[in-house]
Point group: C2
């Protein structure tokens, strides 16, 4: 049941389509793809419809769309890179949507344009999104300064990472000042997001000894700020305690290369309290890292990281996708597991088979 | 000034060699390599001289030795895997040598045969070994039940890891009951060692707030026991405090897949105190993990890990060693760092160049 947003058939049960003639007309309109040039000029003038269509091309797994998307991205690149990229993570229930809604509206009130992108590769397993859709951020989605775009679902983390990175470029070229990457805290996601943002914010809630949950997942180590949400009513005392515990925990970690000392803060997103303070923390961070050149250095490193990461991924894909290797691999793994062959000698054999195989792309 | 232990020329300035005739005779004897069969039967009968020669073959970077080493390893494999493999790490000054000396002698007194291997890839940078040579463990090196072998120096971590893994197999085939892998705590080493041992012991010393140093390096997370050494005299009170702090820190980490709860203990290796207790901890661990099948599962996983790790390393080596890629890579990295090209499009181009290049091994 894979959905392709370029294919209007998915909308057949949409109530607005009440007869075949109307359906056909809508299909015709939707099928008439604007040219790459039209999309690019639309993006650069900040047209949301052009931006959305271009992102859909990025998300498509159709090979024809791949070349078009690459061409759009490379043309947009010189106009990108002017935004602040913020990663926001937290376990389900931490109040990420409410926080982003309050934060985005605050930014909008300052005249800033914000794009909210979500990374949710778990949906490929659950066949439904943990993060839900944009209706979660009801008010924010109506804000003219804000653009909310859920991630491509049904994909690997690597695939979602590539698509999100490229979507960031297009959003920046379209004039967005702040890019928020939201992810749900379920393992590897945070590390991938960390390698594509400037500032990484961990959202938590106070309660039942869970304050240090982030340490367990290795997230506290990469956070630039830890924000305790839902600091209202009965929770205020618990929040203060959680903040103290987190501050103690932060001492366990070495100083950051950024020269920044992670800050523990709190807010009540529901009541719009503490939001200005969090924006100030981010502003301070950007100011510090721009003045000590870490900001640009990190972005350059991230670009190089994704270059090498993509190469290594593709080398592996080619190897493990090779027919002869596929035929041999399970048997080899078993032999190695059972100590019938040394891992190094077995690897040597597989590598030789691969480079001698006719099935390889180089033949 | 690379040393090759198979080449006796290094010994020319040895005082024992006082004239050309004697030198020639010694060279002839040393050049007469025993056959693979002789080495294998020597190893299986527990002859240290055969074991040492075979390890030297493993450590050699000569391609002719490579095939011989592989053949010896594969023949020895069915006789291996009966030992307990223990990784020991700690920052310089924690007293690793003194601890291993006390521990090894205790094992020897119980009739156990112990092999001590060291991993020290840092020596390739410093051109000298941080861990020093076996004379550090003066008494233990004279113990007939113990075999001490420093790691191959002047090599990468990956190279040292392969050689150590293969050395473990030969030591086990030679009848050693306990294999100790010693490494100095300087970063990635511990993770490599963790993936080749059954039990991982972190040695620390109490003092000036350094108790949690292991957390910073990510080592506490993988330790099965943390032992505070030098718990004698004035240090005893400090040791108790450090133990309490470490026990609190351990709560931050999720339960281990082994079902084992890491234990904080102390000893005075110098005074041979606490050594029996540590051996008991290891025995308890082995008992638990053998009965819940984690022991065998972990070894099988480690074998598979090294199979895949070696494959991925070799794929990368082939790619980055390709002449056309070498000519393009720096320019591409710069373009990507400066946002002149998207990392993904640039990776695509390099991959296509690689698979079309005639320089590749498959041509």
């Amino acid at each position: 049941m894979k959905k392709d947003k370029l294919n209007p058939k998915d909308n057949q049960d949409n109530p607005e389509i009440f007869n075949a003639a109307v359906l056909k007309k809508i299909q015709q309109v939707r099928n008439s793809q604007p040219s790459i040039e039209v999309l690019i000029s639309g993006i650069l003038s900040g047209e949301i419809s052009a931006l959305s269509r271009a992102i859909t091309l990025i998300e498509s797994n159709n090979k024809n769309h791949f070349a078009k998307a690459n061409s759009i991205i490379n043309t947009c690149l010189p106009y990108a890179n002017q935004s602040v990229r913020i990663g926001i993570t937290g376990v389900p229930g931490a109040g990420k949507s409410t926080f982003i809604e309050a934060f985005g509206k605050h930014l909008s009130s300052l005249g800033k344009k914000t794009a909210v992108l979500t990374i949710d590769p778990t949906s490929s397993i659950s066949h439904g999104s943990i993060l839900g859709d944009k209706t979660r951020m009801d008010e924010l989605s109506k804000d003219p300064n804000t653009y909310i775009r859920p991630s491509a679902s049904g994909d690997t983390l690597g695939g979602v990472a590539r698509k999100t990175r490229e979507t960031i470029i297009l959003c920046e070229a379209a004039g967005f000042d702040v890019i928020i990457i939201e992810t749900v805290g379920v393992g590897q996601n945070e590390i991938a997001v960390h390698s594509m943002v400037d500032f990484f914010l961990l959202l938590q809630i106070a309660g039942a000894g869970d304050e240090l949950q982030g340490i367990k997942r290795g997230v506290i180590e990469i956070a630039d700020a830890i924000v305790i949400n839902k600091s209202d009513g009965d929770n205020i005392a618990k929040t203060e305690q959680a903040k103290a515990e987190l501050n103690r925990a932060l001492h366990f970690f070495p100083p950051k290369k950024s020269g920044w000392t992670p800050i523990v803060s709190s807010c009540s997103a529901k009541n719009h309290q503490g939001i200005t303070e969090i924006q100030q923390i981010i502003t301070d961070y950007i100011e510090l890292t721009k003045s000590n050149t870490y900001f640009d250095k990190k972005r350059a490193e991230q670009n190089e990281f994704w270059l090498l990461e993509t190469i290594n991924e593709q080398l592996k894909q080619n190897f493990y996708g090779n027919t002869e290797i596929q035929n041999l691999l399970e048997k080899t793994k078993k032999a190695v597991q059972n100590n019938e062959s040394s891992p190094f000698a077995a690897a040597q054999l597989l590598i030789e088979t691969y480079f001698n195989s006719k099935d390889q792309s180089c033949s």
